[in-house]
């Protein structure tokens, strides 16, 4: 137990939390923006996986991490557009199309990985690049906080900035109003002249780009390679984070940090004598518990309101 406490109450653990929160945060923001427009983007897992591979391949062939990042984001947008086309144009149930894209991504990435790297597990034969880490000028010098906050990957900082950007997009910009209007009531939005399908396309486009950033972080920041199914459910955990975020980007940041904490915990408490299977299950258990706590709170709130109404 002491060993556990010693690991948790260190600055490097705080650093680790931020490091593992990044992909979840990107994906959760991606989930939120599409949810606000009334579309469930279940394909985040597959999108991140595809983007992670694209980032590695593009950066290896162009010798530039930044072009790799661009490739990853474009790949994310491409997947989101397939999802948009099939669900908005062809009227496929969006959950089914999401499942289809996830299945395609998990097999398809292995297929492509073998084509370019001649390996079905890992991309180590490709000379891919990683995005730079940034040392924050002044904060760096502060004892504990410096260790926690400074020296992260550029995308980690961008994910935090994205929280603010998405907040402004949703609540302060005309497109945000339209997105929310469409999500709240499609028909009402349509009746005041908003092009519902176009708005949903735009929301999914942003969603795909954000998931693409999350994927790029996985293979070009978190680690420096692509491996099969490396997202291991983060795209799904993000859906839970979205549900728990209470509908605002800042709520999502807190929910993502919670899951990041669970993830970091499972990475760093190998020191104690607990079977590794249980440790590996921590992020998923905490997701279910978080989901239950959040949902039961919501239900009791709704019930309370209903009770008041009757009285």
């Amino acid at each position: 137990m002491n060993a556990l406490l010693e690991t948790i109450f260190t600055a490097s653990f705080g650093y680790a939390v931020l490091r593992v929160t990044t992909p979840i945060l990107f994906a959760a923001l991606a989930a939120q923006i599409s949810k606000k427009a009334g579309v469930d983007n279940i394909a985040l897992e597959g999108t991140m996986l595809t983007s992670a591979l694209t980032g590695v391949i593009v950066s290896a062939y162009t010798n530039s991490a930044w072009i790799g990042l661009l490739g990853a984001v474009l790949a994310g947008i491409a997947i989101a557009m397939i999802l948009a086309y099939s669900s908005l144009k062809l009227n496929t149930n969006i959950i089914l199309s999401g499942i289809a894209l996830n299945l395609m991504a998990s097999g398809g990435t292995v297929f492509v990985l073998y084509l370019v790297a001649h390996d079905k597990g890992i991309s180590s034969s490709l000379k891919s690049h990683v995005l730079p880490k940034i040392t924050l000028p002044i904060i760096d010098k502060i004892p504990v906080i410096g260790t926690i906050l400074s020296g992260h990957n550029v995308l980690t900082y961008f994910s935090l900035i994205a929280v603010v950007l998405i907040y402004f997009l949703i609540y302060r910009m005309p497109i945000g109003y339209k997105i929310r209007a469409v999500g709240e009531n499609k028909d009402a939005a349509d009746s005041v002249g908003i092009n519902v399908v176009k708005i949903q396309y735009i929301a999914l486009l942003i969603s795909g780009a954000l998931a693409g950033l999350g994927g790029a972080y996985m293979s070009m920041g978190y680690v420096s390679w692509f491996s099969t199914n490396m997202t291991s459910g983060r795209g799904f955990i993000a859906l839970a984070a979205e549900a728990m975020g209470g509908g605002t980007p800042f709520g999502i940041l807190i929910a993502s940090l919670f899951f990041g904490l669970a993830d970091a915990l499972s990475n760093s408490i190998q020191v104690i004598r607990i079977p590794s299977e249980f440790i590996q299950a921590i992020p998923y258990v905490s997701t279910i518990i978080g989901l239950i706590v959040y949902s039961s709170n919501q239900t009791s709130k709704v019930n309370k309101l209903k009770g008041k109404h009757i009285n």
């Binding site: 144009k89 292995v110 084509l115 299950a281 279910i288």
Partner: protein, 362 residues
């Protein structure tokens, strides 16, 4: 109604052809020996008894998870716990097959039933969370799949592991527990008989019993079903439990029929495959064997292709994805369907006016 099924059939077949055509294009684009690859892919499974046997062996688990997903999706619950149910079913069967001593015949039966019960619980949990607290079953079932996987691996590694074997595998099953093969020269086992039985049961259950009717009603329109006196909460709970039970049975049967010990180090993914099988069969149990066979044929063909040529078997993943996207698309070919309805309506109107004219003449 009949015309509608006819249309659905055409759409499904066209969806399959388009996705196969894309796969063929991919093969031609990447392979140095595309004709060899293509021949192995499309006709490989027919070349020998053993290969065709492989197709039927692979069909069995797909039937179980396809049926499981069909029943759960009929109630419009996007519960993907079938993946975990299948896995934990196989773990439960492994425990029974190693730790218990039972006579021939009864031993596998007990293992399969226990596997089914444990599997049922796994799919029931997301349904409970959904009905009690409105937690989305999709997310919770996915998380549960990971948890169930780790619990299963823990049981194998800590209680059933064969320390003398090089890899992380369980001890051998007792001979009484293994499902025997029924076709010589293949590994086709008794599980196929159980699978056929389950197809008949599920069809009868969904389309001929009150419970099945209620499941379909809730799936089509939950509010309306509730107004007409159906307890939707109850329906959601039992549809998921039954689906999970079938998936769990499938897991038990798969390990006892195909293996002599538990040796998976990752979840084999049959729950996800069940979604594909179920969509191809339009959630109708009677069509599940056809779609399961079709998918198994594709998989076996792809495996043979990857052994005989330079194309990897994962190309199937692309085919599957496109198939789901096209077949589940309501507006795919809808234009053509509407045109047909329109021209038919027009011709009946013409018929009627002609009749009127004839009458007027008299």
């Amino acid at each position: 109604m009949n015309k509608n099924t006819h249309f659905e059939l055409i759409r499904t077949i066209l969806g399959i052809f388009i996705s196969l055509a894309i796969a063929i294009l991919i093969i031609f684009a990447i392979s140095n020996e595309p004709t060899v690859a293509l021949k192995a892919f499309l006709t490989g499974p027919l070349k020998s008894v053993r290969h065709f046997g492989n197709v039927l062996e692979a069909t069995i688990p797909l039937i179980f998870t396809g049926l499981a997903i069909s029943i759960m999706f009929q109630a419009k619950q996007f519960n993907l716990g079938a993946e975990g149910s299948f896995f934990i079913g196989s773990i439960a069967a492994t425990v029974i097959a190693i730790k218990f001593t039972l006579p021939f015949g009864i031993h596998p039966a007990v293992a399969i039933i226990i596997g089914g019960i444990v599997g049922g619980i796994v799919c029931l949990l997301p349904a409970v969370l959904k009905t009690k607290w409105n937690a989305h079953e999709f997310v919770s079932s996915l998380m549960l799949n990971y948890i169930v996987f780790y619990i299963g691996m823990f049981v194998i590694n800590y209680y059933l592991r064969d320390v003398n074997a090089g890899a992380m595998v369980s001890q051998k099953f007792q001979e009484t527990a293994v499902l025997g093969t029924i076709v010589p020269k293949t590994r086709i086992h008794w599980g196929i008989i159980v699978a056929i039985g389950m197809i008949i049961f599920c069809y009868y259950f969904l389309y001929k019993t009150r419970w099945g009717y209620e499941i379909r009603m809730v799936g089509q329109n939950k509010e309306f079903a509730e107004y007409s006196g159906i307890n939707a909460v109850k329906v959601i709970l039992y549809s998921q439990a039954i689906g999970g039970f079938i998936a769990g049975m499938g897991g038990s049967i798969e390990v006892l029929g195909m293996y002599t010990r538990f040796s998976w180090s990752a979840s084999p993914g049959y729950g996800w495959d069940g979604v594909i099988v179920s969509i191809l069969a339009r959630r109708n149990p009677a069509l599940i064997p056809i779609s399961a066979f079709f998918l198994a044929y594709l998989r076996t063909g792809a495996d043979i292709m990857s052994r005989m040529s330079d194309v990897q078997s994962e190309v199937v993943a692309v085919i599957q994805g496109i198939m789901i996207l096209l077949i589940a698309a309501e507006r795919f070919l809808a234009h053509w369907k509407n045109k047909k309805i329109y021209s038919e309506a027009k011709s009946t109107i013409v018929d009627n006016t002609e009749n009127v004219v004839v009458k007027g003449d008299i």
